[in-house]
């Protein structure tokens, strides 16, 4: 029997790893992958609490999160493809037009 706290600790660890990846990496694609890691950490926390509380609602939320993540990945990648076509680069260092 694994305590639910262990799953929550893993979820927190994955979430902060996603945040670190988002800050450290400097191309849009890898930053987008970091967002996916954070979404998965949220899913893990939902499932851990669903089991700890004995309710199935957490699992439903996870299903919807995965579906919305798929839609979000499609749109996000389409936008990144557009940026790459216009700028020939997806490095965030090259996208500084808003900087005064």
């Amino acid at each position: 029997m694994i305590p639910p706290a262990a799953f929550l600790v893993l979820a927190a660890l994955l979430f902060i790893l996603g945040i670190v990846a988002f800050f450290v990496k400097k191309d849009l694609l890898t930053q987008f992958m970091a967002v996916e890691v954070m979404l998965n950490a949220g899913n893990l926390a939902f499932l851990a609490l669903a089991k700890a509380l004995g309710k199935a609602d957490g699992q439903m939320v996870v299903l919807f999160v995965i579906t919305v993540a798929a839609a979000e990945a499609v749109i996000g990648l389409a936008i990144i493809v557009l940026i790459f076509r216009q700028r020939k680069s997806i490095r965030t260092d090259d996208l500084k037009d808003l900087k005064g």
């Binding site: 694609l29 309710k55 439903m60 995965i66 990945a73």
Partner: protein, 166 residues
């Protein structure tokens, strides 16, 4: 036994995400994420959520990461990313992340302090129960999700489907 599997899978998952951060090659990063999401699917299975585990492996490790790999192939970035110059950002990000980690741990401890209510561990991984919930309590969310997917499909075609010359 379950504890051993959990430790192996969680080390694999966290290690793959760290490897994804360290790797300079985007394709390698995506493949490390496939490993991370697959092992996370195993962890979902440990949580009595077999359907979520299957969907995790099929949709995340399968569909979404393959989409990422397709995008990486489209960009055709031959040269690896140059080493990052600004250390400040990495240090700041790591510090902020550690603070958030402590906060999350505190919040998780408080969330679990109430103890599990009576009747816990019932109706855990029953897929028929999930399906019934999906088409009763969550019917509106389900229908709106289908609309969202359609909008994403049309939106992606409208955004990226144009030819260069238009």
């Amino acid at each position: 036994m379950a504890l051993v599997i959990f430790v192996i899978l969680s080390v694999l998952c966290a290690g793959a995400v760290v490897a994804m951060i360290v790797s300079r090659n985007q394709a390698h990063s995506a493949l490390f994420l496939v490993l991370a999401f697959s092992s996370l699917g195993g962890i979902f299975g440990l949580l009595d959520a077999p359907f979520a585990a299957a969907v995790q492996v099929l949709v995340y490790a399968g569909a979404i990461m393959v989409l990422f790999l397709f995008a990486i192939m489209m960009f055709n970035l031959r040269q690896p990313a140059p080493p990052e110059r600004k250390r400040l950002r990495a240090v700041l990000g790591t510090g902020l992340a550690l603070i958030l980690f402590a906060q999350l741990l505190l919040a998780g401890r408080r969330a679990l302090a109430g103890g599990s209510p009576p009747g816990a561990a019932a109706s855990g991984g029953d897929i028929a129960h999930l399906g019934r919930l999906l088409f009763s309590d969550y019917l509106y969310a389900f229908e709106i999700t289908s609309l969202l997917i359609l909008a994403a499909l049309v939106g992606a075609l409208a955004l990226a489907g144009k030819r260069e010359g238009e």
